[in-house]
Symmetry: C2
Subunit: 225 residues, 2 copies
């Protein structure tokens, strides 16, 4: 059974890659840059988007992936940006990640020709989202300092799969047993030199740098190392 | 492809249930109570175990499930309890949950006849671990207040699958936008009346009640509602 399972999963990943490439073609044809935003549950992806999308100098859409509820989509809709909800629940008690086909099913609901940038908020999970391309140009993860400094070592694939790590909730640092230097050392151990931004989505600290990053990729300008 | 995928996953869950029942038979024959401990990444499962297993009035073993690294197993080993590491990495880039077969493979390394209680620390994930029985008698989840008050609504299966929710990191409450009443209301909305313990694994607050719960289930005494 296990070998069959792994074989089917490999086939699924192959098929997923094909659909992801089709998604990416569609995004490129429309001139839209797509960012896949990943994190553990409760790391602050939605709050970060609430903090950063208002008044951005590029036209933004959001795809919200959730196992259940439209809570996040409802929050994003209040920003008056295009938002599409993907509910992963119908198949098998809830998928723990978005795949290319789910994103593809959302495309007809997105006005791609009127957008520069689409942010895809993945299901909160540090394992499987890193394994499924969805057609994105950039992969960004949000890593909350409340989760502890060992997380890059425990979920290395996720931290390696991203080009930018947003270290969120830094307002909590005085109240945590969290050694930021050790965390950054762990991060460099699994993904040497990966770009990182220290942010508090709550207080707004560091959010401007993230907004500038979004505008640059939304305009398809080179992102400096 | 998608239908094949779902069908294989259903078969996998069936096969998993059979192996889980075999695990449970083995546990029962040895008179060992098994607790499946689940949470999002960084909710504080390992720290809670470090705080609670020392000097417990029952004989304890721990199974540590991780995608990568032996960090948690190393921490638990320092408590001088039996600890077995399950590395989920070999299959397909890392499984996001433990399954019954992985736990079965760990059984020969556990001195079941010398134990009363085995805690299985699952992979940090709020979706798939809830779908895979491993042969446990009790399912407990750790829910960090740093993850936000909406989590029961966003991951209802996990919160429903547990008989006890440990609300951890309550020492952070003064520093968070977290309405505890609203969180408990959300919890009751998805799992009415589920037992809950408010805990800070960091300061030790509430840990005694959790230790008492462990001793009671380790002695196979009834757990009061």
């Amino acid at each position: 059974m296990h070998r069959t399972y792994v074989k089917v999963l490999e086939d699924v990943l192959d098929a997923n890659g094909t659909i992801a490439a089709a998604n990416r073609d569609d995004f490129d044809r429309a001139g839209v840059t797509v960012v896949n935003l990943m994190s553990a549950p409760g790391a602050g992806k939605t709050t970060l988007l609430e903090r950063s999308l208002r008044g951005l100098d590029v036209r933004v859409g959001v795809v919200e992936g959730d196992v259940a509820s439209t809570l996040d989509a409802d929050r994003i809709a209040q920003l008056h940006v295009s938002v599409v909800q993907i509910d992963t629940d119908p198949s098998f008690g809830g998928e723990c990640h978005l795949d290319a086909n789910m994103v593809r099913s959302a495309l007809p609901s997105l006005p791609l020709d009127e957008l520069d940038l689409v942010l895809i908020e993945n299901v909160g999970n540090l394992v499987c989202p890193a394994e499924f391309l969805v057609g994105e140009h950039h992969r960004v993860m949000v890593s909350s300092v409340a989760e502890g400094e060992d997380k890059p070592l425990k979920y290395p694939l996720m931290f390696r799969a991203c080009e930018l790590v947003i270290v969120n909730k830094i307002d909590l640092l005085p109240h945590l047993d969290f050694d930021l230097d050790r965390y950054l050392h762990n991060l460099d151990a699994v993904h040497p030199g990966v770009d990182r931004l220290l942010v508090s989505a709550k207080t707004g600290e560091g959010v401007d740098a993230w907004r500038e990053w979004l505008v640059r990729v939304g305009r398809r300008e080179a992102v400096p190392a």
